[in-house]
């Protein structure tokens, strides 16, 4: 979470440059720029109607931006040129109801440039893995909703994409499938894939994302590594608990470049950090001073709190949506 972003970060896998899209009178996305580094889980966050889906549709070449550009994998072209390398799960889900499970997966695999035989093979593996093997020759409309969700999720990642884009990924998933989805996302991430997902549920984003971009009314409010955002938007409070020996903790707390204010109770201290101070240094210095620590906790504001502070009342409204 607080892993430092390398100064010379690798080339971003996805870049939006001052992208703009308007529909009959209202501007859905306004002058939006962002860069997604490779190999991260990136959260595109915002209340409903913020422009998340429109942004994703522009990335996928489903919509053309009115202005600005989308660059994927370092090239100038948008999503369609790179369909082979992108897995996309739209917000509204659906499959051909009358088709057989395996046929749907093979067909959608072909749409992503897979060869038929390979698609069939991979689909079989995934169905096996998610416990749907005995359903592969059944028609989609014979499956339960949860099973259909699994099938659609398989169709998104069947071709082992380098970039997975999930629009409102967890919306409408039952708890079991949400777990499957989360596990698979983490596994893809471990294999080096980049995951971009949009959501308006901050608790989910907080648990999964390394990078976030918060937008509202089509405009970007903040973006960057989640840790940085938390630090700059609060994250100034430390709770330190000692295990017997306090060492030279008092000296560390006296360092004005690190600590603005301290509330020392002997075995327990509440620390307000100086602006720009790195809590990791406080930790190092404390350990270096010979103190034995039982507890060292960065009191960060929750992403939800940052989100509400940034977005305003809209965010609260979004947070209580029943289908969330």
């Amino acid at each position: 979470m607080t892993s430092p972003a390398p100064a010379s970060s690798p080339k971003p896998i996805l870049v939006l440059d001052r992208v703009r899209k308007a529909f009959a009178g209202h501007t859905a996305v306004d002058d939006l720029s962002l860069a997604v580094p490779p190999g991260v889980i990136y959260g595109l966050l915002g209340p409903n109607g913020a422009g998340k889906t429109t942004t994703i549709r522009m990335i996928m070449d489903i919509l053309q931006p009115d202005a600005g550009s989308v660059r994927l994998f370092g090239g100038a072209a948008g999503g369609r040129m790179h369909a082979e390398r992108i897995g996309y799960l739209p917000e509204e889900r659906g499959l051909y109801r009358k088709m057989r499970v395996l046929d749907v997966l093979v067909f959608l695999g072909e749409m992503k440039g897979m060869e038929r035989r390979r698609a069939r093979h991979r689909a079989g593996e995934w169905l096996e893995r998610l416990g749907l093997a005995q359903w592969r020759l059944r028609r989609i409309d014979e499956l339960s909703k949860g099973m259909q969700q699994k099938v659609q999720f398989i169709s998104t990642i069947l071709h082992e994409p380098a970039l997975v884009i999930l629009d409102e990924a967890f919306a409408g998933l039952d708890p079991v499938n949400a777990q499957v989805m989360k596990d698979t996302v983490l596994e893809l991430r471990a294999r080096g894939a980049t995951i971009l997902f949009s959501t308006h549920i901050m608790e989910q984003a907080e648990k999964l994302c390394e990078h976030v971009c918060i937008i509202a009314r089509g405009r970007k409010l903040v973006d960057g590594p989640l840790g940085d955002i938390k630090r700059t938007r609060g994250g100034h409070h430390l709770v330190v608990g000692f295990d017997g020996s306090v060492g030279a903790a008092a000296q560390v707390f006296a360092d004005a470049s690190l600590v603005k204010k301290v509330d020392d109770y002997g075995q327990y201290a509440e620390v307000e950090l100086a602006p720009g101070a790195d809590p990791q240094r406080v930790l190092r210095d404390l350990v270096g001073s010979g103190a034995r620590l039982a507890r060292f906790e960065l009191r960060e504001p929750s992403l939800l709190k940052i989100f509400i502070d940034l977005v305003g009342p809209e965010a609260v409204q979004a947070g209580v949506r029943p289908d969330a």
Binding site: R57, G79, R80, A83, Y88, G94, Y96, L108, E110, M111
Partner: protein, 414 residues
């Protein structure tokens, strides 16, 4: 390219797999069989089965008429004229034991006046005019002393053989054949274009309502998707034709028993048409042209609708263009050279039905055919361009169906 091919294959395989495809494949020939059968029945309906001749003649006239009628297959009994016979025969007609009766007297030889009373005087007139007239002539000639053998030779009935001079070369078809060919081509073209056009529409609508279209258009261009869809459904229709063609061949080979034994009426009206290579080419060219034109429009209708119900409403103007050209087919069959027929075979929205009908029914200048095809091609280009733009915007839209103003904006901005 491979993706388009995958779309084509999906449309084809999924459609051919359905029960409905095979029901259609079997029902088509059954339906055509029914048309044969019915027209056979209708063709015969005009004939007279049982009539009586009230014979008040002293010459052979009554016998002669009975003989003539017997020759043409009708069944007539001769009763001598007497008081009350007309009343009792009238009662017989009312009871449907008789179709009607003729009242013949010697005066007919001079005045030519014979009276027929029956349940269906229209049919009676058609069926009796010729045999009774011929009998009168024969008896008149014999009365003035003409050799009966000479009379017999002179009264060999006319058998007019019609033969179409098509494109200045061969004479392969009779009038009945070219009529039935034109008629069937019209029906098949109309049915197939409508049926498969609507197939394209529901396919577009399915992808739109299930939102699969988002995944698809992020992998290939909307136009490629539309193209694959139209080609796939088109391939299904050609496969359907193939099945119908084979079934139709078998059916035609057995048409006589199907039409009811002697095959009289059906044979007159529906004969095995001689389908030349050129006719087949014209048929296929206009089927494909019409299918592309209409399926582009139906695809646009599907794209601008959000539910089946909406689509059913929105497709009506498109379907009506086709229905109108089908209805006018009957007028064109009567006079393939009329201004109406020529106009309809040039307008691209009606030419896919009108032109093949005219081609089959009559002598058609090649220049007209070329002009009509050129206009159709141009129209396909234009209509597809507009439809593809509506399609591109429409497939991602949800909610209210657009009005004309919004449609124009879609076309302009897409």
């Amino acid at each position: 390219m491979r993706k388009i091919w995958a779309i084509v294959r999906r449309e084809f395989v999924e459609r051919v797999r359905t029960r409905w495809f095979w029901i259609g494949a079997l029902l088509g020939p059954v339906l055509f069989g029914a048309v044969f059968f019915l027209s056979g029945q209708l063709g015969r309906g005009g004939g007279l089965k049982r009539i009586a001749i009230v014979d008040g003649t002293t010459t052979q006239l009554g016998a002669r008429i009975a003989e003539q009628l017997g020759r043409s297959g009708d069944w007539a009994i001769r009763v001598p004229a007497a008081v009350g016979v007309v009343d009792s025969l009238t009662a017989q007609v009312r009871a449907k034991h008789l179709d009607g009766f003729l009242i013949v007297t010697d005066a007919a030889l001079d005045s030519g006046k014979v009276e027929y009373r029956g349940s269906n005087v229209f049919a009676g007139k058609g069926a009796l005019q010729r045999p009774v007239g011929e009998a009168l002539t024969v008896v008149r000639l014999q009365r003035v002393g003409v050799d009966p053998r000479l009379v017999a030779r002179a009264s060999i009935p006319l058998r007019l053989e019609t033969c179409k001079i098509s494109r200045g070369t061969t004479c392969g078809e009779t009038a009945a054949q070219s009529f039935s060919l034109a008629y069937f081509m019209g029906i098949i073209l109309y049915t197939a274009i409508l049926l498969y056009g609507i197939n394209v529409m529901s396919s577009v609508l399915e992808e739109k309502t299930t939102r699969i279209v988002e995944v698809l258009v992020s992998s290939l261009r909307p136009f490629q998707l539309l193209l694959g869809k139209v080609l796939g459904v088109g391939a299904v229709s050609i496969f359907q034709f193939l099945i119908w063609g084979v079934a139709g061949r078998l059916l035609l080979a057995r048409r006589a028993p199907l039409a009811g034994g002697d095959g009289g009426g059906a044979d007159e009206l529906f004969q095995v048409p001689h389908v030349t290579g050129a006719t087949f080419a014209v048929f296929m060219a206009y089927f494909l042209g019409g299918f592309f034109l209409y399926s582009a429009m139906f695809a646009a209708v599907g794209a601008m609708s959000s539910t089946e119900q909406e689509a059913r409403q929105a497709q009506q103007p498109v379907a009506w263009m086709l229905v109108l050209s089908f209805i006018s087919m009957f007028a064109m069959l009567n006079d393939p050279g009329s201004t109406l027929a020529v106009t309809l075979s040039l307008i691209p929205f009606s030419s896919p039905v009108a032109m093949p009908v005219r081609w089959a029914a009559g002598n058609l200048p090649a220049s007209e055919l070329a002009l009509s095809l050129a206009i159709l091609l141009a129209a396909i280009g234009g209509v597809t361009w507009v439809a593809a733009r509506i399609y591109r915007v429409g497939i991602l839209m949800t909610g209210k169906r657009p009005n004309v103003k919004e449609l124009v904006r879609w076309i302009r901005t897409a």
